[in-house]
Structure formats: C-alpha cells, structure tokens
Assembly symmetry: C2
Homo-oligomer: 315 residues x 2
Amino acid sequence: MYRKEIKVLDCTIRDGGLMNKWLFTDEMVKAVYEACVASGIDYMEIGYKSSEKAFSRKEYGKWRFCDEKDIKAIVGKNETNLKLSAMADIGRVEPEDILPKSESLLDMIRVACYIHQLDKAIWLAEHCIDKGYEATINLMAVSTVMERDLNEGLEDLNKSKVPVVYIVDSYGSMYCEQIELLINKYRERLPGKTIGVHMHNNMQLAFSNTVTGIIHQCNMLDGSFLGIGRGAGNCPLEILMSFLKNPKFKLKPIFQVIQDYMIPLHKEIEWGYHIPYLITGAMNQHPRSAMKWRDGETRDDLVGFYNYMMDQKDF
Amino acid sequence: MYRKEIKVLDCTIRDGGLMNKWLFTDEMVKAVYEACVASGIDYMEIGYKSSEKAFSRKEYGKWRFCDEKDIKAIVGKNETNLKLSAMADIGRVEPEDILPKSESLLDMIRVACYIHQLDKAIWLAEHCIDKGYEATINLMAVSTVMERDLNEGLEDLNKSKVPVVYIVDSYGSMYCEQIELLINKYRERLPGKTIGVHMHNNMQLAFSNTVTGIIHQCNMLDGSFLGIGRGAGNCPLEILMSFLKNPKFKLKPIFQVIQDYMIPLHKEIEWGYHIPYLITGAMNQHPRSAMKWRDGETRDDLVGFYNYMMDQKDF
C-alpha cells in the first residue's frame, strides 16, 4: 500500500557534485534526468544556485551555478512530470541570482542553512516563493543544535510561509529513536507543513532513517543513485524505490543508470560507507576531517584516523 | 546507557567463509580472535561443525569442520573472557561430530535450521546441551515461513530446553516493522528465553534491524568485521560496537583488523551491498541467484539480472 502524498527527490547531481566539484559530463546528467523521468521520481535536484562571487567557474562545474542555458541543454523545455530543483546555501547566493519563475526551468528552490542562519533562510525561501517557486528549508546538522535553539527556530518556521521543512542528518550520526523524536517535534510545532528527510549513510542508516521518516508521516524523501553524495553519501535511491509501492515507480531505468554511469564513476571518485566516515558519524562531527584524511598520504591508515579523532575530542 | 544482558557475537570466520570456502590464513583467524578478545566481544563463531561425509577436505578449509586441534592452534587454551562458538547445520553434521564439552574448546553450538527441520534442530541443540554446551537455535529464512507454521514451531521451541532462539533474516528482506512484529511474537511465545538477531545487509538494513532488536529487548546480537558474509553480508560489527555503550568494549582492535585484513581481503573476494543482492532481498529470495550471476560472464549486467529475476517471478 502506498501513500500518495510521498514525493521522492533525487539529489544525485547536487549532492554527488560535492565529491567531484560538479564536473559531470552532460551525457551523465542527461542520463540521470531521463532515468528520473522514466522511473516516476518526483523531483530532480540538478545542482546549486550559487553566486559567481562565491565560487570560481574555473574550479567548479556548471551545476554549482545552474544557469538556465545549462539546464535547458539537458532538459529542453522539460515537458515531463518531473519537477526540477536547485539548492541555495545561505551566504553563497544573492537574491538576484534567483530569476523570476517565469524565466526559469526550475520548479523548486531548497534553501539550506545552519541554525544561526535560519532568519536569512526564511527570508530567502519566502523571496523564492514570491518569485513563483516552490520552496523548502533544509536545516542542516540538526544533530548539533541545542534543544532551546531548535524550538525557537521551529517557532520561526511555523510563522513563515515556507511549506516544507527538512530534517537533515548532515553528519550521518542519528538513529531511529533520535529521528523519531525530531519528527514528532517538527510535526507538533509545524502543523500543516510537510516534513522532509535527508539522511546520510555514515552508520549505514540513511535508508533505514528514511523508512523511519516514512513511518512517521514525512512525505519528502531524498535519495541518490547508488547513494552518491558527500563522504558516506545519501540514502540509495534504488533501495528507497524498491521499498516504496507507488505503481508509477519503475526500477529498471534506475538500475540502468547505476550500471552505465554510477559504477564506473565509483571507480574514479570515492563515496559511501567507510571507517573514517563511520568514526565522524558516530562522533557527531562533520565528515570534512575524514574526507581530508582520505585525500592524504596516510589515507589507508584507519587506526591512525581513529587516534587522530580521539585526540581531537579534547578540544 | 548500556544493557548488561546484551551479548555480541562475531561471525566473521563462520559466515565470511561462505564466500571463500573457509580458506582463511591462520594468521587472519588469529588476528580476528585476538581482536575479539581485546575489544570485549562476547562470542566468536569460528566456523561450522560439519561431517566429512557432507563436505570434502580437498575443497573446503578447516573452519568448515572446526577440529579441536585446529581451534587449539589459534586460541591455545583460550584463557580469556571470549567464548567460542561453532554453527551446526541440520543435515550436514552427525551427533557424534559433537564431542563432550570437556574435550572441546568450544563453548556454544548454534544449530541452524529451516522450519521443516525444526524438530531435528531441537533434538540436536538439546543433545549439545546434554553434552555440556550452551546452545541456540537459529531458525533461518523466517521471512518465508507461513504464520501458522511459525506459531507451531515457536510452540515446540517453547517446550524445549534451548535457551536462545534467533530471528534470522537470511535473505536480507525485512525492515523494522516486520522485525518488530517477529520479535513481539517470539517474546510472547518464548517467555524466559533470550532472543537473538542475525541480520543481512541486502537493503542496507542489517545494522538498523539489529538496532530494532536492541530496542525490543533482543540480547544476542550478531555482526562481522566490515560486514563480511554471504552475498550482501552481515551487520558490520564495527558499527554495532560504535553504537553499544558497554564500557568494556574497545574499537581500536576492530579497526586494526579491518585495516590489516578485511580491506585487503575485500579486494580478493566480493561481499557487501550490491544491486543483485538488493534485488533478491527486495524479492525475499535466497541470494544464490545473485551470487551465481556475479560469478558469471555477465556479472556487471545489473539490468540483465533484474530482467532475469522478473522472469523468474512467473514460476
């Protein structure tokens, strides 16, 4: 039995790009787009809207910026049921980077922020809504937000006109009982709003925590092909889609993209469960130290990383 | 806060051996043993007790048989807090293969069976108890057992003197709500017995389902280093041990074995999450078809395997 309110969002290119600076081939982005359409996925997040003041075109690929002409080259007029999304990070985008909806192929802007940026995020998300977009707020690293601050933030979100709020397990540090408590809190304090879940896989809990979301009435679910994403990555879309029962969903296009693009890409760039990411996740810390370790000369010294992180604990 | 009744069992060599016919080096088995001792794990399952009539010594390594002299070569007199276990499969072992406890380094025999073998399993487990061992029954593939048969089986188990009964997700096909229902049923119908969980990772739920076990008072928890095991493998012991809070547990010895042995081994033999195993898991089928596919010439044709399995469905 399926719940028709559930929407699935693919963030393969947006979150996966954190691992290769969005230097995907157009062919691959088009293959992901076409698989999203064919498999009945609801939203595809194609990248970030970013200011050129924040990132250099020389270093970063086009999905760091999501220009309309680049989107058009992939999706044409997007005359499909798939909606397109881009993420905007507070501090890395200017309001004028967001075109009026009538001039854009994007349907939705997801505003990502940390708790101290929440006022700016609400302003920007409402600005996007005023320009004609759907909008969400993705409050990152909620596992490190103190209870009082979160309660106050949820009060502000409740007063806003932003209709969708995400629980984001940025560090992949949460398990089902923690997720359940947060969902109950969000649902109680944000009546009438849709709750979304974006989970990371440091402890191999990204899919399972998404299932916890499903059980507790979260209706926006993020995933990516083969779980590509920063560090340990995201909820693998193929597992989520195997689990959900909406008759419009098809699995074969997803497996085809995994076979043709994701597995070859996985040989070039690293993502997914690994001991250093388990360690940062279990310690409720940003994966950046693990990513840095995996980029260094002692990358395979897992015990060395464990020792390093244990020392850090005394900070 | 930890629950002192929880016991952790490492099945690295026993379940991992399903992928390499137990052809581990003594050095590696000794490293796993020493890491289990040093990290405070409660049981190490070192292999299967099998009859030489069932398996050839020419084809299978020593941990298919678990002779006392071979165990002794690894553990000496095992003057540690670590208990040793071996698994016995109904139909592949003779009662006389089980020595009296006084002549054995093994502390526990776990009897694995399918539902139609349960009477034999109870007989064998009680035979082991009579010989002086701890014993468990691991009822495999419970996801395919019909409700009436399971209820009858639990009645028989309740009448037996076997103190520990495992919920085994052989196909890696279950998620938390199904596990919870089974646990509640087992607990209700087996008052006074300990319930164990042995979970597989086809849908990346092995750890999460083990957590469901913990939440619902299961006190025997299986895992293996880096999740080694048949097909998609088991609950990764390192994640489980990062999660549990018993102050006697240590993580560093586990990471050391993963670094020194498991990651190199993973380059030689394949286990862990992969699309073919996701497909068999989601279809509640034995992974053997996926393992066979991964051994064949078209091993990387994931869509081909999906098509093949969809056709099978019409049987």
